[in-house]
Amino acid sequence: MPDIRISDPTLRDGNHAVAHQLTAAQIARYAAAAEEAGISIVEVGHGNGIGASSLQVGLSREDDATMLRAARAALSHSSLGVHCIPGFATINKDLRPALDLGVDVVRVASHCTEADITQRHIGYVCQRGKEAIGVLMMSHMAPVEVLLEEAAKMRAYGAEAVILMDSAGAMLPQDVTERVGCLARGLDIPVGFHAHNNLGMAVANSIAAVQAGATILDGTARGFGAGAGNTQLEVMVAVLEKMGFSTGADLYKVLDLGDLAEREIIPVLPTIKSISVVSGLAGVFSAFAKHVERISKQFQVDPRDVFFELGRRRIVAGQEDIILEVAQQLANGGAGTAEGGRQAAERKRAA
C-alpha cells in the first residue's frame, strides 16, 4: 500500500471554477486519464456534492446521474467518489441513487462543528457496504479539541477516515500541523487534508499535513478548484516523490493528466486573484468568490468589504444567500455595516 493515498476532486471542486458547467464528455476524458495515472479516488459532481445543484450555489449543467455514469464507465481500478453534505443531499433523493450508480466512496461532509448531522448518511453508506469518509469543512474555524471531538463522532458513525478541509484557504502551515497532528494522534483511522490556495499555501500546507501524520491528500489538476484553487496535484505528487513518499500514482502520467486538464477542461487557469486573497484572510469559503463578484457588481459595492463582513459574521459554506443581504446593507450604508466591513478589514490588516 502506498504511503499517501491520493484523492483527486478535480471533477468536483473544479466544477466551482466553471459555475458547475463541466460536461459528461469532459468528465469521461479526465476520469479515464486519472485512472491511467493511478489516482486512488476520483471525485465527481457538483462543487458542493450530490444534490447541491441549486440557485443558492449554482445549477449544474449535467445532473448528478449523468456525471456519475460518465465517470463510472471510465473507472475500474480507481474508486469513484462523491462529496455529500447533509442539509443539501438527502439519502432518498441523492445518496441512494448515487450508490445505485456504482459510487465506491462517499465523503460525507459537514461544517467542522456539526458532525452529528452526518450520522445517518455515513450509516447508510456503511449499510450499503461502501466506503464512508468523514469531512470537516472550514476547519480553520474551530479549535483543535473540537475538531478531534467531531472527527471522533464521524469515526463512531462508521467513517473509515476523516478529512480536514481548509475550505477558505485560511490556514498557515503551523495551523495545519497543529490540527492534523491532533487528529492523527487521537484517532485510529487515517486522516486526510484538503487545501485551498488563497494565501499561496496549498502545497506547503499539504506537506505540513503529511509531516503531521496525514495519509490521504487531496489535489487537483493545475489546482483547478473554487476561488484560488486547490493544491496542484502534479506538484504535490512530485514533491511527495522527492520526499520519498509513495503515492501509487505514476508521475509522468500525473503530469500528462495536468496537461490534459489544461487542454480540455480548464478554461482559465487558477490564479490567486485579489478577491481570493481577501477570502482567505477573511476566512470565508473560497467558492463564494464568483457569487461575491457578481452580486457586488449589481449593488456597486467593494467585494472586499463584502468578504470581510461575511467573515465577521462567521458565515459558513452553504450560506451563499447571505452575500446578497450583506451587499444590500453595504449599498444602503445601513446599520453601520459598511463601516463595520471596513473596520473589520482594518482590524485584519493590523493583525
Binding site: 440557485l55 447533509p86 456539526e114 452580486i295 447571505i322
Partner: protein, 303 residues
C-alpha cells in the same frame, strides 16, 4: 378575539418545543393546558411545567388513554415515529391533534395561508419550522406570478437551536418542507437547503426564498408579500422581511428573519418559535370554531 370558555389541551412531549409551547398556551385567552406529558418526571421541561403549576404526567400517551376526558385537543411535540403510534389511539378517542413532528399524517397547515380550510380536519400537521417561514411567501409567489418553474428555500439557523431530533431528522425536514412548498405554491419543482451556523453570539433564523418564473412581476409581488408578512406577524411577532423581493441573476429572491419570543427558548431560536406560534394560532382557531356556529364563524373571520 377572546373565547367564552377555554379549551382544554394536552401537550405530548416535554422537550424544547413542548415546553416552549406550554409557555405560549399559558398566555392564551382561549386555551388551558390540562396536562403536560413526558416520559421522565425529572426532565428540565417537566420541572419547568411543574414550577408553573401545570398538571404533569410521565406516562406518555397512556396519560391520555387513561383519562380521555382530560383534553379536547392534543399537541404532539414528540417525534415522527412516536406520532405515527399516537395518532390511531387518539383518533379512536375522537381527539383533535396538532402534530408538530414531520410525520405528515394530517392536513398540512400554514395559518396565514389555509387556516380556515383546516378547521374540520382531526389531524393537523404543522409541516416544519422552515415550512412555516417560507411557505406563506411561496404561496404568494404562486398567486401573483405566472408560470412558476422552481422555488428554492435556504434556511440558516444557529447550531445551538438545532437539537438532536432536528439533526437526526434533516432528511425528513427537507422532504416534508419541499412537499409543503409544492402543495401551497402549485410549483412542481422545489428544493430546500438547511445550514447550521455555529457563530457566537448565535445568529437569528434567516430564510431566503428564490424563485424562477417565466415573467417576474415584482409590482404585483411586493405589496402581496408585505401583506402576507403583516398577516404572519399577527401570530409570529418576530417575523420580518429583511430583503424585499429583488431580481438577481434571473431569479426572484427575498429574505426573512425570525426572532423568537424568548419564552422558554432563546430569542435566536426563531425556527422553533415559529412552529409553536403557528400551532398555537391553529389551536386558538379551533377553540373559537367549536364555540361558534359555522355561519357566525365566517362573519367573525371576515370582520
Amino acid at each position: 378575539m377572546d373565547c367564552m370558555r377555554k379549551m382544554k389541551v394536552a401537550i405530548l412531549g416535554s422537550g424544547n418545543i413542548g415546553t416552549d409551547l406550554l409557555v405560549k398556551v399559558l398566555r392564551s385567552p382561549c386555551l388551558e393546558c390540562a396536562l403536560f406529558i413526558g416520559r421522565n418526571l425529572s426532565s428540565p421541561g417537566m420541572s419547568k411545567a411543574s414550577s408553573l403549576g401545570v398538571p404533569i404526567s410521565a406516562k406518555s400517551i397512556d396519560a391520555i388513554l387513561d383519562d380521555p376526558d382530560c383534553c379536547e385537543l392534543a399537541f404532539d411535540a414528540t417525534s415522527a415515529l412516536d406520532h405515527k403510534r399516537h395518532w390511531p389511539l387518539l383518533e379512536k378517542l375522537g381527539k383533535r391533534v396538532i402534530d408538530l413532528t414531520p410525520a405528515r399524517l394530517g392536513k398540512m397547515c400554514v395559518p396565514a395561508a389555509n387556516l380556515e380550510q383546516c378547521l374540520d380536519s382531526p389531524n393537523i400537521n404543522m409541516i416544519s419550522c422552515g415550512g412555516q417561514t417560507s411557505i406563506p411567501l411561496a404561496y404568494v409567489i404562486g398567486r401573483t406570478q405566472d408560470e412558476v418553474d422552481y422555488i428554492e428555500v435556504v434556511s440558516g439557523i444557529a447550531s445551538r437551536s438545532a437539537g438532536p431530533a432536528t439533526r437526526i431528522n434533516l432528511d425528513e425536514y427537507i422532504e416534508t418542507t419541499e412537499q409543503g412548498l409544492r402543495d401551497f405554491s402549485g410549483c412542481p419543482r422545489t428544493k430546500v437547503i438547511l445550514n447550521l451556523n455555529a457563530a457566537q453570539p448565535c445568529i437569528d433564523m434567516q430564510t431566503t426564498i428564490s424563485a424562477q418564473v417565466r415573467r417576474p412581476d415584482l409590482e404585483r409581488l411586493r405589496p402581496a408579500v408585505d401583506e402576507m408578512v403583516e398577516k404572519i406577524r399577527r401570530y409570529v411577532p418576530g417575523y420580518r422581511l429583511l430583503v424585499p423581493p429583488t431580481l438577481e441573476d434571473n431569479r426572484i429572491v427575498m429574505m426573512v428573519k425570525v426572532q423568537g419570543l424568548g419564552d422558554y427558548l432563546p430569542r435566536y431560536a426563531g425556527n422553533l418559535d415559529i412552529i409553536n406560534c403557528a400551532a398555537l394560532a391553529t389551536a386558538e382557531a379551533f377553540a373559537r370554531h367549536r364555540l361558534s356556529p359555522p355561519a357566525v364563524l365566517k362573519g367573525a373571520h371576515h370582520a
